[in-house]
Symmetry: C2
Subunit: 345 residues, 2 copies
């Protein structure tokens, strides 16, 4: 069974020889070849240049036996396409002008995605050439809420604070912004699918920080709209929320094929709560990569025991950290590749 | 019904005229009188001086109709009592020397709490004099895990990262440190009870960041030891973990009287999962204080509807932020004080 088949079957809950594996932010700063590349090219230059983005996308595929590549890009290409200025100083991204009022929201451009973000489609096509046909290629977008978190003024240490306060102070304005972002995300993910993505993941790093009532009122409608709008595209849709425990059943109501599970809940518990209909993706603590190979092997064993290796895409519970040891990643991938499925299957 | 009776009855799940209210970090920087006080006195000077600590403890009681005072102190008085140097530069507390090896753990002092931390007992006694007999007085300690997070070198942006990695790399050493901290926390909370605390809260800001397996293996034993060791002291024990959703049933196994619930899960869901045996404390999103009075009243209504006002101590789901508006706090307390209980009670 090749990697692409394995990945796509796992997304649909079909039988596989072993669960597929990839990991969030796998083309990132923890890789020496990525750091070397970034010494020559600015972050946005890489995002904007299909050849460079494809080159970085391939780095983890060239080094590890991952079953899928995920296109190298950034969630903030969307606000950039809306006419905002996005920079990446140390300490985290900065978007100007900041969004606080109805006038600010009105002033945002609605981009023609096929023009403004064409470079992402080109990067996917270029990656497919390099990747061949037997590995899966994943497209992605930041979710409206997580993008909105970066569009608001930063308050305190918490990146989600501005968006969470606007959501409470002016829910109507907040929903207008969210809905505009959702429409762009739909166009953006459709373009990625048309450009060769085998699956798409919606990343919501911050949606686990709101109250369950707020998730239901202000975030779930966007997740539903995006998932429903992609239902006829014929590729698996992965919905990832960091902090899934409090909102899991609501995420399931958006009906993705795959639900991402972070490390703070067990996979069997997630399956008990949402049933066999959904594949699960996750969920090793990213910090486990700093531990011994034995510890990592034990974590891989635990994950596969919890799902039976069926309807399960092995992954971290959140993105890999910038200084994670490559040896930990090797131990992680090796353990999945050599995993035996539980006897009962 | 006076505030102290109301608070203590609510902790035991007994009938009250309305749920009691206090809030985490209620004596803090959001209060102008606190900022004025701190302009004259260093943070640790206030912690170490019973009259100053009592003065600050009383600030929210003097201003708002809260039912309880919580002693003004800091979770890091424990590492300080163990011989470490604790400072509070902008950006967060720093403890030196950092703890990384068995030799570092061995070198930690085991303080005689009644001597080294006598000033906290004196602060409680002084506060009781000022508070009178009709308000509750809450003592507290940081939990072993949260204290340990501050004792490790800071890695990346995540304060819990060092402790979470040591837990995986050297679980035996980690458990030795946790157990030593748990013993000190027990002595410390017993002293606070002997000094007049009507209830004690164990704060675990970071325990919700570990995996459920790690919580069960490395944190729950400490929570159990602390709760069991205080069982005969005759005061309610409040166990607070930020990020309760993934570990709630395990927290219940430690058998506190009261379980703190953060804002990311609903109170009725917490009650469904642990039953009527436990009182619940929480759980308004601290950022709701930045919203309109109507929004805040709606949140108070939601909380009381979810618990029926029985076995419920109204609180925020986490500590108040340093720049929260005082008007929001006023709206919050007023809404609780004027709350009508559901008709069915």
């Amino acid at each position: 069974m090749d990697s692409r088949t394995r990945f796509l079957k796992a997304c649909r809950g079909e039988a596989v020889d072993r669960p597929p594996v990839w990991f969030m932010r796998q083309a990132g700063r923890y890789l020496p070849e990525y750091r070397n590349h970034r010494a020559k090219h600015e972050f946005l230059e890489v995002c904007h240049t299909p050849e460079l983005a494809a080159e970085v996308t391939m780095m983890p595929v060239n080094r590890f036996a991952v079953d899928a590549a995920i296109i190298f890009s950034d969630i903030l290409v969307i606000p950039e396409a809306m006419g905002l200025d996005v920079t990446y100083p140390p300490g985290g991204p900065v978007i100007k002008p900041e969004i606080e009022t109805a006038a600010h929201v009105d002033a945002l451009e609605t981009p023609v995605v096929a023009e403004k973000l064409a470079y992402v489609g080109e990067a996917l096509k270029e990656t497919r050439k390099r990747l061949g046909d037997d590995k899966a290629l994943i497209g992605f977008s930041g979710s409206p809420f997580t993008i909105a978190c970066y569009m608001m003024p930063k308050m305190g240490k918490d990146r989600s604070m501005g968006a969470r306060i606007l959501m409470k102070r002016d829910p109507a304005l907040f929903d207008v912004l969210m809905d505009r972002l959702a429409d762009i995300v739909v166009d953006y993910l459709k373009m990625q699918i048309a450009s060769g993505a085998d699956a798409v993941q919606l990343f919501d790093t911050w949606a686990g920080e709101v109250t369950p009532v707020e998730y239901e009122r202000h975030i779930l409608p966007c997740h539903k709209k995006i998932m429903e709008s992609l239902a006829d595209e014929g590729v698996p849709r992965i919905l990832y929320v960091n902090g899934v425990c409090g909102v899991l059943e609501m995420m399931a109501a958006a009906e993705p094929e795959v639900i991402g599970v972070d490390w703070r809940m067990r996979l069997f518990e997630a399956r008990r709560r949402v049933g066999e209909k959904f594949a699960l993706q996750g969920n090793m603590d990213p910090f486990a990569l700093y531990a011994s190979p034995e510890h990592i092997r034990g974590e891989v064993r635990r994950m596969i025991d919890e799902t039976g290796g069926r309807g399960h895409i092995v992954n971290l519970g959140h993105g890999i950290t910038p200084d994670a040891p490559v040896e930990g990643v090797e131990a992680f991938i090796d353990a999945v590749v050599n995993a035996e499925l539980p006897k009962s299957l």
